[in-house]
């Protein structure tokens, strides 16, 4: 007994220095000193798999010459989950968050709650110069800029050149094309996003704006949804969902399900983001060769389509200890060089308009290996001009602090899309959105 007791004490004594060291390390971490007193800015973002975000953080750390360094804190890939984690921290006034990659739909909510700071005039001018107007609008709330426009994206109409000689300009034409192809026994599916989630809202808003009305008025407090145009938009959704062009799993289809189905060769059309281009070139080179792209379809009699803009902006957290440095870092991270980098490595398109004509982007290529093993070069952004034209008059989703609730109200009312009743659903939509704007009721 006594022997064992002595051994235990001697072990404790041996462990004591280790404990002291551990305590010191813990204390050093807690004080947040970083390397030699250089302030560390934490950039909360999902990690772009191509590595462009990590590289941008490194480049800007080097460019700061010891004034600050940027650490990427990675969030999940899914935007809803990013938001859940961010709002939980921000509502608790987390001072660790210096920079935030914000989906364009979060600006109003974060700004209204006081979780992000408006950019000072000098920085605001710097980060909006030459940027796409709709992108700047997504970062603006109540006439103040709350984020630096970084990446943008929007959907195009992708079609099979061998099946459709002339790309349709309206949904009606596209539907007639699919019926013709169906009768000829050819691939005739139309891939859209029909799952009950944000993608369905994007589809609805693009149709609604193309038909000539909006969800909310300019103040973002009143429901508009003019009856006739809304009915037209809803009719398109219902008609497509009930036609033979609708995929079997439309009610659970997200962007990536559409891409997979497209690469299997069953479809004539697809509305989707530009990530489908490199993916098809890698996974289905024969389909990719036959792939055409055109502006998103409009509504008959409504002029060119108005398409919903997406993308990410860079906001500055309100509770960080180095907000002045964070503004400078945001300007650096969203520089033209980093935008090109994000485009080439990650396929995230720029917000600076001139970059769409920049040879660095238009001449960029990717290597593609076809099934026979031959490697060739394919242009990475052959659609840059169509995308630039679409983005120039793209539309925003409603800018309201209640956007998350409004979005839930829309997707819940319209899902599943084959049950839409255009006449009755206009009023149901208005009621649901009104309730969402009051922050009342369950959704």
């Amino acid at each position: 007994m006594r022997r064992r007791g002595r051994r235990e004490t001697s072990e404790l004594r041996r462990l004591a220095p280790l404990l002291v060291v551990l305590t010191l390390i813990a204390a050093a971490c807690g004080s947040g000193g970083g390397e030699g007193g250089v302030p560390t800015l934490h950039w909360y973002s999902y990690d772009e798999p191509g590595g462009s975000y990590v590289d941008a953080a490194k480049a800007c750390t080097a460019a700061a010459h010891g004034r600050y360094r940027i650490d990427l804190v990675t969030l999940p890939n899914d935007a809803d989950q990013q938001r859940e984690q961010l709002v939980r921290r921000l509502a608790a006034k987390d001072s660790d968050i210096d920079l935030i990659s914000q989906d364009v739909i979060w600006t109003a909510e974060f700004a209204q709650a006081g979780w992000i700071l408006p950019f000072p005039k000098a920085e605001a001018t710097k980060v909006t110069k030459g940027r796409l107007k709709p992108s700047v609008q997504t970062a603006t709330y109540e006439h103040r800029l709350f984020a630096a426009p970084f990446t943008s994206n929007t959907q195009l109409l992708w079609y099979r050149k061998s099946l459709v000689p002339h790309p349709p300009t309206t949904w009606g034409q596209a539907l007639r094309d699919t019926q013709r192809l169906d009768q000829q026994g050819k691939p005739h599916q139309f891939q859209v996003q029909g799952q009950r989630y944000e993608g369905l809202v994007v589809w609805f808003i693009s149709l609604l704006e193309s038909a000539g009305t909006t969800v909310l008025d300019k103040t973002g407090t009143k429901v508009v949804l003019a009856t006739k145009p809304t009915e037209r938009a809803l009719s398109v959704m219902r008609d497509l969902s009930r036609s033979s062009a609708a995929p079997a799993a439309l009610s659970t289809a997200r962007e990536d399900d559409g891409r997979l189905a497209w690469e299997s060769g069953s479809s004539a059309f697809m509305v989707n983001y530009t990530f489908v281009w490199p993916s098809a070139n890698t996974n289905a080179p024969d389909i990719a060769q036959d792939m055409g792209w055109a502006r998103y379809p409009g509504i008959a009699g409504g002029g060119p389509s108005k398409v919903t803009i997406g993308g990410f902006n860079l906001g500055v957290g309100a509770f960080g200890h180095h907000t002045d440095l964070a503004f400078q870092a945001a300007a650096c991270l969203t520089s033209e060089k980093n935008q090109i980098d994000a485009a080439i490595k990650g396929g995230l398109l720029p917000t600076t308009e001139a970059l769409y004509d920049d040879p660095k982007l238009t001449d960029a290529t990717q290597d593609v290996t076809d099934p026979s093993g031959k490697t060739k070069k394919v242009k990475s952004f052959p659609y840059a001009d169509v995308l630039k034209a679409t983005l120039a008059d793209a539309v925003l989703r409603p800018q309201t602090p209640f956007y998350n609730d409004v979005s839930l109200a829309i997707s819940r009312t319209l899902h599943p899309t084959n049950h839409i009743d255009p006449q009755a659903d206009v009023q149901r939509l208005r009621d649901a959105i009104k309730r969402a704007l009051k922050g009342e009721g369950l959704l």
Binding site: D80, R83, E84, V87, R88, A91, E109, Q112, A113, Q195, R196, A248, A249, L250, S251, T252, L260, P401, N404, D405, L408, H415, G439, E440, G441, L442, L443
Partner: protein
Amino acid sequence: MTTASTTGTAAIATRPRLTERARSERRLGWMLSAPAVIVMLVVTAYPIVYAIWLSLQRYDLRFPDDRKLVGLRNYGAVLGNEVFWQDLTSTLVITVISVVVELVLGFALAWIMYKAIFGRAIVRASLLVPYGIITVVAAFSWRFAFDPTTGFVNGLLNTDRSWFSASWTSYLVIIATEVWKTTPFMALLLLAGFTLVPDDVVKAARVDGASAWQRLTKIIIPLMKPAILVALLFRTLDAFRIFDSVYVMTRGAQNTETLSILGYNTLITRLNLGLGSAVSVIMFLLVILIAALFVKGFGADLAQQRGER
């Protein structure tokens, strides 16, 4: 000496007055249990009271300035909304079907475990494997199994069904996951019940000429009743709070949204603490109601046993 004995008899005569020893023992008892009581108060009582307090306010984390007491208005908003009733219905559908299926399967498994002659330890351990798997992991493996592109189920059944795009097939997979995962738990509790049945009674019944079915329904099940009720109570309360499987598989689409998911959406996604807490408190009350109904079932049963037999 005499004074000591008189105080002793006085203590016996008037019960509230305790001896020095009894009092110090009682004090020691309180001191020993105090840490546990304090921990319980901090981790359960405080959150419950706080949730009730929050549910009486209009409180949205995005609009901290608009915080104010609104009485029972949040409860009115919850109970007056079709979403709540729809979610309550889907929760009850999942609960009732999965618990009933689990009871039948669990009974059979318990019987096998009870009767296993050789390899008893291996039989028991292998039956318990699903219960040892984390629910989220189990839900993901079932989801991937039923996925039309990556799963093996469609290949086995020779269909190309998209399981999570229709309501009834979504329910089917969710309930199957629940049953697979928690039947072992049910079986374990019922196995304890089987050991309550004295062998002599069953043998006596056999001698008297009772058939196997009669022995089961007239002897074994009545004697196991307390164990069955405990198993049912535990599983019902558990199934009623189902979250993981539904969240992983459908995220509540196709009308499979349960009350837990509704609470999560309102609290975590929409940051509406008032409304979300009202949902939580209503769920809490429903759980108490279920527990009370079961306990009443017990009480009646025990009284019957005491009075008549």
